[in-house]
């Protein structure tokens, strides 16, 4: 029985991490119509940079913040100097992000070598807490909490700020938004930075659970893809629901169907594609 509870907790914490990764991916896709294939690499690179931060003496949270900021900066550079030159050409932009993901992956391999690096849980959040008759690891609960807080912050930003209104307008119809005075190019850069920053931060946040190793990017990217197809692009709610569905599948799958776990992971996505191509909460068709 407790095994299922453990899996459930892991599902939620993983879902939280996935949300931080996918929210950015979903916004970028919804606004710029490009699936950012570099997103997994940003997650991994963020984690690696956090590791270096730890080695340089930073505490965990500063390192995580560093990860986020570094990836936001890198995201800005990528968007402004590489993607923007291909403005309007979606396919070349996607292929560009694919090429970049390979470059980043190999550079990480060169810098941090191929051995997996484990990161210890930050001191204050170690251990377990008894709740409702079970014991839960504090850190995993913390991740869920952080994800929920950030989700709320993003929702507030989208629904209540001018920036959010511009993003929503851009997601709905970028050319019209441009005509109406929305600085779409700057918006693209901002959203890309935001998405990249969230991915980097999530990478470090997940490090105590997942470790950091080559191939982490290839593990996480397809999951973000599933979340966006499942939940619908440009939708925060879709990213939230999708992340937790995938979190559950990712944890319960191998336990229930060890050899077909990967297939099970993709099944809801395939179903959604057949029955409702725009995703559960999406507004644009794929």
């Amino acid at each position: 029985m407790s095994q299922w509870v453990v899996l459930a907790v892991n599902s939620f914490s993983f879902g939280g991490l996935l949300f931080l990764l996918s929210a950015g991916f979903s916004l970028i896709f919804g606004l710029m119509r490009i699936p950012n294939l570099t997103h997994g690499s940003l997650f991994m690179l963020g984690a690696y940079i956090g590791v270096t931060g730890l080695r340089l003496g930073l505490d965990f949270w500063s390192a995580a913040l560093l990860s986020g900021l570094a990836m936001a900066a890198l995201g800005g550079v990528i968007e402004r100097f590489l993607l923007r030159r291909l403005q309007g050409q979606e396919l070349p932009q996607v292929l560009m992000t694919l090429g970049l993901s390979f470059i980043i992956a190999d550079l990480c391999l060169m810098e941090w070598t191929g051995d997996p690096i484990s990161v210890s849980t930050p001191g204050a959040l170690r251990g377990v807490v008894p709740l409702l008759g079970f014991v839960f690891p504090i850190y995993r609960l913390a991740i869920v909490l952080i994800a929920v807080v950030i989700a709320a912050a993003l929702w507030l930003m989208l629904d209540w700020t001018r920036l959010g209104a511009m993003i929503r307008a851009g997601v709905d119809d970028a050319p019209i938004a441009r005509v109406m005075g929305v600085p779409v190019s700057r918006l693209f850069t901002t959203v890309f930075c935001l998405g990249a920053g969230l991915a980097g931060f999530a990478g470090m946040l997940g490090a105590p659970i997942l470790s950091v190793y080559p191939g982490l990017d290839a593990e996480m990217l397809p999951l973000a893809l599933i979340v966006v197809i499942l939940g619908g692009s440009g939708s925060l709610l879709g990213a939230l629901v999708g992340s937790f569905v995938v979190g559950v599948l990712y944890n319960f799958g191998p336990a229930l169907f060890p050899e077909l776990a990967y297939v099970v992971l993709f099944l809801p996505m395939l179903l959604v594609l057949v029955l409702r191509p725009q995703g559960l909460f999406g507004r644009q068709s794929l």
Binding site: I34, G99, I103, I104, D106, L225, L265, L270, L273, V274
Partner: protein, 319 residues
């Protein structure tokens, strides 16, 4: 002049084992031919259909794994080959039905996901695929009793299949159906109004593409005599896509040129650097930024530009 060049190329290719200088190079030539067939297959969708797939390595691997598995199970070589191709075409149909729910970027994402699913099966369904350990293929087929064990013999067999592939592609491109496919690439909406069944055209093109991708996968399975999940990674799909776009999609020569380029680079690169992925990514980025239409059209453009310059110079000096 084109005919002379073509004849020369054919002679060079047929006599290659004699002048290329050793088994190592013959094998590289075989690899280039195999990947050229793969790239030609993908180009049907990318270049002529306007549908970019990042999941074709999944189909390539399906053929390879099916053949390897059938041979290991004791099924005869011919039946294994036919079975492998049949399964690959079925898989292509499945891919098509799902991926054609969208076009453009959506199509790309779905094919990426489907390719990943197949990789996941190869990697995790260990009782079926032996996981990371892969499956060994004990012997190459012996068509008409002839052995393909030596590099030269295998090369000649591969060359013949390659020739067939090129002929099939040329015929396809020049056919009415080929023109329709290109029409759906350029103006899908108008094609529907003109009475074409755009979905069905794309679906059939996907099957044709999958068939040749499967042939390439089958060839590779016999070349390497080993299949592993590495064949079905996103990296593999990206490599073959790079071959198509670097050579020039929408042309016949482009994918062949692209395959030559990428395989040559990969071979050279692995000898000196360990970081093939870095080089692959860098080439991707460079091609997209600098010569997006690919090498073949790009060099045709350069050639025309150079000739115009020469003509202008001649006209200027003759005054």
């Amino acid at each position: 002049m084109r005919r002379a060049a073509l004849a020369l190329a054919i002679i060079a290719l047929v006599t290659l084992p004699y002048w290329i200088g050793g088994s190592y190079y013959i094998n590289i030539a075989s690899q280039i031919l195999i990947w050229a067939v793969f790239a030609l297959g993908l180009n049907v969708l990318v270049g002529y259909g306007g549908l970019v797939s990042l999941g074709h390595a999944g189909l390539f691997g399906t053929a390879g794994y099916a053949a390897a598995w059938l041979v290991a199970a004791g099924v005869g070589q011919l039946a294994s080959g036919v079975g492998a191709i049949g399964l690959t075409v079925l898989m292509s149909a499945l891919f098509a039905v799902l991926a054609l729910r969208a076009t453009g970027i959506g199509f790309l994402m779905i094919t990426l996901a489907l390719g990943q699913i197949l990789w996941g099966i190869a990697y995790r369904w260990i009782s079926l695929t032996n996981g990371d350990n892969g499956i060994n293929v004990s012997a190459r087929p012996m068509p008409l009793g002839l052995s393909l064990a030596t590099p030269s013999a295998f090369y000649i067999a591969t060359l013949m299949v390659f020739g067939l592939a090129v002929a099939a592609m040329a015929s396809f491109v020049a056919s009415p159906f080929g023109a329709c496919l290109r029409g759906t690439r350029d103006q899908a909406r108008r094609m529907t109004a003109l009475g074409y069944d755009v979905w069905l055209i794309r679906f059939l093109a996907f099957l044709f593409s999958g068939f040749w991708t499967g042939i390439a996968g089958l060839l590779f399975c016999y070349y390497d005599q080993f299949v592993s999940p590495h064949l079905l990674t996103l990296s593999s799909s990206a490599e073959v896509l790079l071959m198509v776009i670097s050579g020039g999609s929408g042309t016949l020569l482009g994918p062949i040129a692209g395959a030559t380029l990428v395989v040559a680079m990969k071979t050279v690169a692995s000898a000196y650097i360990e970081r093939w992925n870095l080089v692959l990514g860098a080439i991707f980025v460079a091609i997209i930024m600098l010569m997006p239409e690919g090498l073949v059209p790009g060099s045709q453009r350069l050639w025309r530009w150079a000739r115009r310059g020469r003509d202008l110079a001649a006209a200027a000096t003759s005054r």
